[in-house]
Amino acid sequence: MEATTKMKSISRRRFLKKTGWVAAGITVASFGAFPVVRDKIPALPTFDAPSEKDGLTWIQILADGRVRFYCPRMEMGQGAALGLTQVVAEELNIKQADIDCILPDTDHTPPFQMTVGSQSIVNFFDPVSWAAAQLREALRAVAAEKTGLSTEQILDGRSGFKLPDGTTIGYAALVPATDVIITDNRLIENDNLKRYALLPTTKHQTIGQNWLHHDLTAIVTGRMAYARDISLPDMAFGAVVQPPSFGAQLVAANSARALELPGVLGVEIDEAAGFVGVVASTPFILSEALDVLDVEWQIESDFGQEQIDTLLDVERLRADDNFTHTLDQSGDLEIGQQSARHRSSGRYDTPFAAHAAMEPRSGLVWVRADKVEVWCGTQDPFFVQKRVAKILDRKVEDVVVHTHRIGGGFGGRVMCQASEAAARLSAKFNLPVRVQWDRAAEFQNNYFQPGFSHFIDAGVSQDGFITHWDHDVVSSSILTGLAPGLIGKAIDLATPDQGTTRGIRAPYEMTNRRTRHSAIRTPVPINAWRGLGSAPNAFAIESMMDELAFKSGIDPLQFRLKNLLANRARLAKVLRKVGDMSNWGQVAIPDTGRGLACAVYKEETAVAVVADLTIDHAAKTIKVTKVCCAQDCGLVLNPHQVESQIMGNITWGCSMTLNEQITFAQGRVEQNNFHLYEPLRHGSSPEVNVALLSPPGTPPAPVGESALPPVPAAIANAVFAATGYRCRSLPITYEDIFAETG
């Protein structure tokens, strides 16, 4: 993974010049080692986390005293740019109106880590704060030179400084006509650099305020430009024939009838690449052109759900006692089993799932002799840049990716296959070409959350402590889910997938424990989906915790608190908090139920939720009416944004628990639109009540996916409370419960 970039000594100044950074203004720059994109194969996503000095290329003060912030995060609704903007403002003592936050194109900044894994604040808070503080101190030095005072005499003011005589000097007055570059040897040593973002929260001016996102007005007036909304004069419109099943090989295509249609400019057939695409001067003829393209495919795989279910069977692997990896092992399971007063065991299954983001992807590409321009929405523009360069056999630096706000990502927008298709067509027909996927293409051709199959056998002692925990799980590797055939199998044997096993270690004291894992490979493309393995894993763990609490006759909240690991004090606090918020312990009324669950996301963010639901026998529905959530994600830059993310995760959690399931037949996905894969709708969405805990001095922790893991188990536990029926397989439906309970 380190191979994606290498440290190469080039002039950062040259880079900055090239991108127009230094035209007017002050830039703090560091010369020397500097990450650049490497042309060599293969094109891989951008994994490297940022260093402090990367931050220097993101922030600049302009001649008018305003700050330009190329926020190194792609925007898909998580709003990380807003929190990071507040960090810049905190360090530079400026207002929101003084800062232009720009979604960077690939020629605006050096490559930065792809926007995944709820890391935007966690990984970028520090370099943004450091770089903004360096810029502030550089400006202070300029002010000192200008006034003949020492830097100690130049005090912070609003958008500038205060002088000892009571006058003020704004940043605008400090920016000279010629560019100023502050080099390495003028950077402030870390020990001497004041970092306002790191001060106690009571000292913060902007961090912790509910600034509203700078894109809101554009969004509510329909003027926000998503990739689908971009057009160029004289562009052509492209469409691609999608393969009928996973891995289908193109045999032949006949374009004669399509070429007769009015407006069709041409058809590109590339058998080696498995590509058939049509280009037209009008978008209105494309669907007809696709219909009359005569394409022959060789079907490589006609697998269906039965084959997948056979592979995804934890009990079969247990019967063979055959797991690839032992993730943890301590004590002695037999001794634990013998000391158990109450014992429970069960299999928990979760299905494959789709991202179903609201915006089907789109790419507009213009290939020219000297430059290739791409307009798209992606979680990793530098990956798209490399992929397009590779397809066109061009240098990476010839390709510029213009980025756009993404209409929903959730892990599903790292690749932008529509851009790759548009690149092929633009190169062939010498025109700018736009390719847009429809909903069916989005369902069929993206990658998926894999199914999970768990088995847990556990017990509780006379005095309410967990005696043993024997947990096996089979699923598919997620982070390496797109690795080809034998390489993928070799990876699975070598190492357990960090995404699949995310959150697999229950946060409870269990002396006698063992967790084992095996991965299966199927033709289904697998990769990141919100939270990766964390929600399926927490579903199994927190359902079993509820079963053990019930069998022991201990309240589920008390049972968790009693068994929590000693180092999980922050989780204990959110558990108690959610108990208070929800008035936990009140007597349930018939056909209503409440369930509790908790998790620690990525070993950092502690979350507990209580879900209330009602069973409607007339409508034959289960409806989650209210969810209370307490979360400790450390320092909160913008509480409103964090609450929005929590609401989003809870809605997502209800949806995956009650509605979502991808199935396969004849080598393809059976669901092609929202009638067959229906995310939770407004009428079924719960009221959400959020409390944020933020212990003093704690750094920011992940937010974008952290409230999701406990939601499915909380709902399943609430179903048990309401009906006495233990749902161990998602999605949970009314019919399943009442068919089984009779």
């Binding site: 894109d215 509510v220 609201m358």
Partner: protein, 154 residues
Amino acid sequence: MEIVINGNVIAVPDDLQNVTLLDFLRDFVMLTGTKFGCGVGLCGACTVHLDGVAARSCQTYVSDIINVEVTTIEGLDQTSPGEGLHPVQQAWIAEGVPQCGYCQAGQIMTASALLHRNPAPTDAEIREEMNGNLCRCGTYDRIRRAITRVAQEA
């Protein structure tokens, strides 16, 4: 034929009378605020007003729009008295509703049509009316708060 979109008379070329209003808006009139989500009337991202009533533009053909005024998200502010944004747009900002924002034009068009017809909807009425507009980011709770805010401020 001609149709009226946001108060402007637009001449429809003969060969585009049989395209959907959604495609016509996005690819001919270049009003891209109205979004494509599913193409079959299941998600509500393409919602516009036809004479003030919410309708799915992906299920409406240009040739069907006779003597009907079309309002899109770009023209919504013209339908409310006074300067500035429509009260529903203002409430959406005040409550910080959008996340990715892609579905929000459709949500706002459905909500504004509801409030036009029923200035004080109950929670159940809001849920029922908004049920056809999907949001994958999970902004439903904030949408209810924004609609309630408009009703209370009216």
